[in-house]
Symmetry: C2
Subunit: 189 residues, 2 copies
């Protein structure tokens, strides 16, 4: 019932922070990057220095018993291989991935990922939303609130006009379109 | 009343798509990247091959009359310089930026950006939200709906259970915390 993080890249530290914030969730990283692996193990984060697209290391970290697999390095081709191996070893596990190049979103899906995001597409959306001002701060807050709906142990008050803004957002008809562009969901069948 | 895109990087194409989707919005790119500039002008996108941290090119693209400035390349130091120049030339213009390295979010704010996002932090959040399944697709849809609340010319119906999901999201108290981590708002005074 643990989460496996395959590969090490720019998104890995934010991913590990998110996992650390979810109390009680166990996780481990598999990467060929020896420098990253050493730094992680100095911070007591379980890490296996091995190729995450090889069968043996994924068996060693008990992929068969994993809750989810997160695949997000700058090398989409290696990500695709890791996804293929993970899917082969565990047909039912939830696999999520980040496509560094937007044109690879569908390839990572076809490799077996359940959901694939494009951080650059997402970043462009949010940045332009912010550029058009006024509502945008609230829209972004909504967005971040929505992205992290499981964390409930903080004391700061949430800005209470988010609901009205969301109403605007869902009033528009673009969700399906954006879903195509940025997040690719494979499992809603 | 136009939008200026300063520099060319991984986020620029998503940014230009967002701008193109907002009918009636005029925009121009300023970049030293000659290959990118040639490709953009082949697509009839107004582009100026010049350093966006120099005063003269920003005067030429009428920064004084701009509605907003978007700064998002992989080089945060150059982004900081472009922000400093833009802010100097137009104290009132809205400036938004993307920090490639998360630790630069506050530096880009101090350089004069009104809002700074960290696409990697955002990507990590969303990916882990997706990894934990179930609600996450909806949370991501909320999030994307929120990020693009101005586009209203599409016909697809929006999934109507978004509102309930947002309720969950805003019910938690993490928005202020996340705001620190991922989006930095300078102007709410
Ligand atoms: Ca990738
Ligand atoms: Ca940057």
């Amino acid at each position: 019932d643990h989460v496996l993080v395959l590969g090490y890249g720019d998104l890995t530290e934010p991913i590990l922070e998110e996992l650390a914030a979810r109390h009680g969730v166990e996780y481990a990283v598999v990467t060929t990057d020896e420098t990253a692996a050493r730094r992680l193990s100095e911070r007591d984060i379980p890490v296996f220095t091995a190729d995450p697209s090889d069968v043996e290391p994924l068996e060693r970290v008990n992929l068969a018993g994993a809750r989810a697999v997160v695949v997000a390095t700058e090398d989409d081709a290696r990500d695709a291989l890791a996804i293929l191996t993970a899917r082969q070893l565990n047909p039912g596990v939830r696999i999520v991935a980040a496509a560094t190049q937007r044109e690879n979103v569908n390839k990572l899906r076809r490799a077996g990922a359940d959901q694939v995001i494009s951080p650059t597409t997402l970043g462009g959306h949010i940045l332009i939303d912010c550029a058009f001002g006024a509502d945008s701060t609230d829209a972004t807050t909504d967005l971040l609130g929505g992205a992290l709906d499981d964390v409930t142990d903080l004391d700061d008050a949430t800005d209470s006009d988010d609901a009205a803004d969301l109403d605007d957002a869902t009033g528009s008809d673009d969700a399906a379109d954006l879903d195509d562009a940025t997040v690719s969901d494979h499992t809603s069948n």
